[in-house]
Subunit: 222 residues, 2 copies
């Protein structure tokens, strides 16, 4: 039986998956060690081993994990082998960028429905999919048995869009609008906050500016 995986562990799985994948592409070696994984991701190797305990995968002491098995097990846990069909509402710039992004299919995501309210957008083709009026979503979801909805609308319409999605049968929402959506407990929402990622850069810049200042001070003292 699969154990309930804590969220922070789950958040690290895609990173382990990427390290294992590029390890398999780069090296002609069978085993990948927890130390190698930890160094690639600048984390504690004991944390890596704790995370691995959630996978049904046995490591060999002082050798490591079978890299191919590790990658496949992670892909299995992350659902990359399942194909997930989704729809997207809001075909502005961000919606178009996401609808046209080619990398998603490797991760099991295929966007098969596009919806917008703007007359200008309706009828446009993005890749192979034509933008439909939002009013068509209600019948589209059960017809294609879709469970995943992507929201790339402006903040002001995101809540009404998610309400419509849930009424139509959507169970998981990937939300790019910068607000916290109100949803029933059984609905899963993944918020995408781009500004949050920027934090790492602004933290780096703070350190960078400080180092520069320190150097100037040291120079002045000398």
């Amino acid at each position: 039986m699969e154990k309930q995986i804590p969220r922070p562990t789950l958040e690290r799985f895609p990173k382990y998956y990427q390290v294992a994948s590029s390890f398999l592409n780069k090296y002609n070696e069978l085993y990948i060690s927890s130390v190698y994984l930890s160094e690639c991701l600048s984390m504690d190797d004991s944390q890596v081993r704790r995370d691995m305990m959630y996978l049904d995968i046995g490591g060999k002491p002082r050798v490591g994990y079978n890299a191919g098995e590790l990658r496949n097990t992670l892909a299995h846990y992350l659902g990359y082998f399942n194909l997930n069909e989704a729809l997207l509402v809001g075909t502005g710039h961000l919606g178009k960028a996401i609808a046209a992004y080619k990398g998603f299919e490797d991760y099991g995501l295929r966007i098969i429905g596009l919806f917008d309210v703007s007359e200008e957008e309706i009828g446009k083709k993005i890749g192979k999919v034509t933008v439909q009026p939002l009013s068509k979503m209600k019948s589209f979801v059960p017809k294609h048995n879709i469970r995943i909805g992507i929201i790339t609308t402006p903040e002001s319409s995101a809540q009404s869009v998610v309400d419509m999605m849930i009424a139509a049968g959507i169970k998981a929402v990937w939300n790019f609008a910068p607000l916290r959506l109100l949803v029933p407990e059984d609905i899963f929402v993944q918020d995408e906050n781009l500004a949050e990622s920027f934090s790492f850069i602004s933290h780096f810049m703070k350190q960078f500016e400080k180092k520069k200042t320190n150097k100037v001070i040291i120079k002045k003292i000398q």
Copy 2:
């Protein structure tokens, strides 16, 4: 003196920041507890307390942290009080979406330069900024003392763009192109992998489908 903060801790800081902010907006209370923080983020409260030890902020036993002080200290560590000017290369759909995104200034990011190679894009205005030919980047960086570059080009041109950025004086790169860039050691790269975030949804869907199957089996047995 500030301690070196481990990356996973730093990754949690923006989340603590958001919880503390919404706590301050919602409640008329002075103190926020590590248990409250841990419950909002479904993590261990001992982990929260360990992370807090990297901040110069004292918690009161059995009461918690001063919520306002916590929020401000986190904002300080994350560099939200610094204004960071940046440039962006690649004004396709994703580039336009990011250039037009209004939420970044709250996090200290302002995009003041836009560059592309396409004749169609050059001269267009996104917000208040006009798209310039990429050849102008080299002089733009020192003139405006910019240290941050955002890459939203296709994968095929991202490496040559980052090389140009570094030659011009860029120190931190926010990379949206789906490849690992080769850069000198002193350059900071933040890779943005949208497909990685999708992992959480596909994991949820896997659990969801399994539950459904179990229910069907239970029904059949009854």
